[in-house]
């Protein structure tokens, strides 16, 4: 038999690895800064420039860690493992390069645009439409390269890791497209096509599956490749790994609604989410045990080898998160965890432990091999391991503690039936936990810098191997099981890939046609008193989105006594029909704002935005002096009203032309009232007037009906 001679490319894995570590350190550094901002609001530096406030920095942190750090880690592993598993070079080196540089360009665009305040206001999907399109294109390039490699393989069997990569690619593509339906208003501004409850459902269907198919399944692929490699023994049960993949992939997509428990989502959908979330424990733990059992009889190696140490903790954290997640999907547990620091702790067990440690272990294994040398210092790597583990614990424990502490304070009533604590009391109580968390994050980051030093030293000691030569027999006509069924022979004639892809394309096409009809119809208000936002309020809402207020404030009051008493009447689905995008938020660092309208006077908001502690002593909110200097962007009103009407918001015909008159009139009224009642002078065209108008409007539409 003739053996083909070929070589595996090491250049792209190396580039992706460098990008992964660089963006990882950057993203984590931003996280540490954001964590300290919560404890010490002065670090927002908002008197000097508006770009670094917590509301803008946090999305950069989350996006950097998810899409830059984890993303590049996935690509490192994919570009290294797939050729070796399939005994063929990547299909196209050129596509690989486009993929690499395109992805890094997207990351830079994302960071700059988010800091400048260009955001869609939907968590983990904040990037504006031009960047969304770039992501789609680069993802397709990646897909072509991966599927091309698979089709030209020399190894008939697709190792389980490859299945995980395929599943991730397909699902992420679809999630991204569905959640990114938006109407562009200008070059860097768009409105989500969906509104209110619908937007929330799509967003968390996306959000949950982004965790599933970006942070979990591709990393499971990495685990199934690099863990056996590092331990030098096959995975404990290959059969179990196959069961793990297929059961996970079929269960994951249904679990999204567990992010919306106690909201206006239909009960059956909430229960569906819960049921599938609980079922997910089985495959997840099967996978975790499969990973850990791979080390059976090799635990002595774990004592010596830092790579395996990292993998053990990573896999354990995977198990912890995937047990905790289903528990948090139970309604009674969710009542405590939702909006609290529990969620933050949960995601960081996943991000720091599972994603972080698995990526670090992979780097410690990979870099010496790319440079054909030994790791510079095993001792330093072990130090990194212990420091990192300590960092995770110091991060997570205070957050769990703070979640329960604040929950018990939130729901405490005096014997007379009054709320025992003000929101600000609770904020003050958990500041020490914020500080501990920030210290934990800092320690974790120090570990990363130790790794960078260690890996640079390693690379300098070795010689980079641009490629690795290999040889393998070409793929012969494969054995096929005999088949009588009609659809079997049908499948045989068509390349499977084409079929799957065309199915998806048809599906997407059909959806694009259907969505506008039934969504617009749906937006006919069910509560007659709910009216569209005035032009000034709409502009104010866009400022609210720009400043990332949703990162700390929810707009969704759950039907609990302690929430209704604190914030007001619980939220109804019909109140949100004009909210493109929804702004329910997921974390209450500050109080809920769903009924903020009319709660305080205009002057209160004016002073509060200028200096929050002047109105709420002890507040950790940054000040927003730029709102008092920037002019309202009246040029955009026309296209904004136009886009809204296109999506079914009932502004009268031709209203675009005169909208700015109404806007200026309302702004003038607010400014006049501030002058008359409180002797505050402010020009009629400043952004603060728009944000006051919006805040005074939120949640007021149905207030009169109820009380």
């Amino acid at each position: 038999m003739n053996l083909d001679k070929f070589s595996y490319d090491n250049k792209l894995p190396r580039l992706f690895a460098i990008a992964c570590i660089f963006w990882g350190a950057t993203g984590m550094l931003l996280g540490v800064i954001a964590a300290f901002q919560l404890a010490f609001p002065i670090l927002n530096f908002s008197e000097y420039f508006p770009h670094l406030t917590f509301g803008r920095l946090r999305p950069v942190h989350t996006n950097a860690v998810i899409f830059a750090f984890v993303g590049n880690a996935i690509f490192t592993g994919v570009y290294y493992s797939i050729p070796r598993l399939l005994k063929t070079p990547m299909w196209s080196e050129k596509l690989g390069k486009i993929h690499f540089w395109g992805w890094q360009f997207i990351i830079v665009c994302a960071a700059v645009s988010l800091l400048m305040g260009f955001t869609t206001g939907k968590e983990y999907a904040e990037l504006e439409w031009p960047i969304d399109i770039m992501i789609t294109l680069i993802w397709v390039v990646f897909g072509f390269n991966m599927f091309g490699t698979i089709l030209t393989r020399r190894e008939r069997h697709l190792y389980v890791a490859i299945w995980f990569f395929i599943g991730s690619w397909v699902t992420v593509a679809l999630l991204h497209i569905v959640n990114s339906f938006e109407i562009p208003v200008s070059f860097m501004k768009s409105y989500s096509w969906y509104a209110g409850v619908q937007d929330a459902l799509v967003q968390w269907w996306y959000g949950h599956n982004a965790v599933a198919f970006f942070l979990t399944t591709p990393f499971l692929g990495l685990m199934y490749y690099f863990l056996p490699k590092a331990a030098d023994r096959p995975v404990y049960s290959y059969r179990l790994s196959i069961v793990h993949f297929w059961s996970l992939i079929f269960l994951y997509i249904w679990a999204g609604p567990h992010h919306l428990l106690y909201t206006a989502l239909p009960d059956w959908a909430q229960s569906l989410g819960t049921v599938f979330s609980i079922m997910l424990i089985l495959p997840s733990w099967g996978g975790m045990l499969n990973g850990l059992f791979t080390l059976r009889g090799a635990w002595d190696k774990v004592r010596e080898d830092p790579v395996l140490k990292f993998f053990v903790v990573a896999v354990t954290c995977y198990g912890m998160s995937t047990f905790e997640g289903p528990m948090m999907s139970l309604k009674n547990v969710n009542a405590i965890s939702h909006y609290s620091d529990w969620t933050v702790a949960h995601v960081h067990i996943g991000a720091l432990g599972w994603n972080g440690f698995l990526a670090f272990g992979m780097m410690y294994w990979l870099i010496p091999r790319l440079y054909k040398t030994k790791l510079y210092s095993v001792k330093l790597a072990s130090t990194h391991f212990w420091i990192g583990t300590l960092g995770i614990l110091l991060y997570a424990i205070p957050m769990y503690w703070s979640a329960f502490r604040s929950y018990f304070m939130m729901k405490a009533f005096t014997p007379e039936g009054q709320l025992q604590y003000e929101f600000i009391d609770i904020v003050q109580t958990i500041i020490p936990f914020y500080i501990m968390r920030a210290v934990g994050g800092t320690i974790f980051l120090i570990g990363v810098f130790i790794m960078i030093y260690n890996l640079i030293k390693t690379a300098k000691a070795g010689v980079f191997q641009t490629q690795e030569d290999a040889e393998a027999a070409p793929l012969t006509k494969a054995y096929r099981a005999p088949s009588n069924a009609i659809w079997h022979s049908f499948l045989e004639r068509k390349p499977l890939l084409l079929l799957t892809l065309s199915l998806l394309v048809v599906g997407i096409g059909g959806i694009v046609e259907m969505v506008p009809t039934f969504l617009v119809k749906e937006n006919i208000p069910t509560i007659s008193s709910v009216k569209p936002y005035s032009p000034l309020e709409l502009q104010g809402r866009d400022i609210y989105i720009r400043e990332g207020c949703y990162n700390c404030h929810s707009q969704m009051i759950r039907p609990f006594r302690y929430e209704v008493k604190r914030y007001g009447e619980y939220s109804k689905a019909g109140e949100y029909v004009y909210d493109h995008p929804f702004q329910w938020g997921s974390k209450r660092t500050g109080p809920d704002l769903a009924r903020i309208g009319g709660k305080y006077g205009d002057a209160w908001h004016f002073n509060h935005m200028l200096e929050p502690t002047s109105m709420a002593p002890g507040s950790i909110m940054p000040s927003y002096p730029s709102l008092f200097e920037n002019n309202i962007e009246i040029n955009s009103t026309r296209s904004k009203i136009h886009a809204m009407r296109k999506m079914g918001v009932p502004y009268p015909d031709g209203y675009e032309a005169i909208a700015n008159n109404d806007l200026q009139k309302q702004a003038k009224e607010i400014a006049y009232k501030l002058k008359k009642d409180n002797d505050i002078s402010i020009p009629n065209n400043k952004e603060i007037l728009a944000i006051i108008a919006y805040l005074q409007r939120v949640g007021k539409d149905i207030k009169l009906e109820k009380h």
Binding site: Y159, W163, P234, Y238, I253, A269, L491, M514
Partner: protein, 51 residues
């Protein structure tokens, strides 16, 4: 809540895509051998594990 229909359609699309892939993998014999693939990925370890 009609958007739920959209999500169901998309989710079912994904799921049926995977179902087809699953059926293909069974038929193709991808799962006939559940021991050697795990061993095979380690074959080049002697070469690369000792840099």
């Amino acid at each position: 809540m009609s958007v739920i229909i959209l999500l169901l359609i998309v989710s079912i699309c994904i799921a049926s895509g995977f179902l087809i892939a699953f059926l293909w993998s069974v038929k193709d014999g991808q799962m006939d051998d559940d021991t050697s693939p795990a061993q095979r990925i380690l074959f080049d370890n002697n070469k690369i594990n000792k840099p």
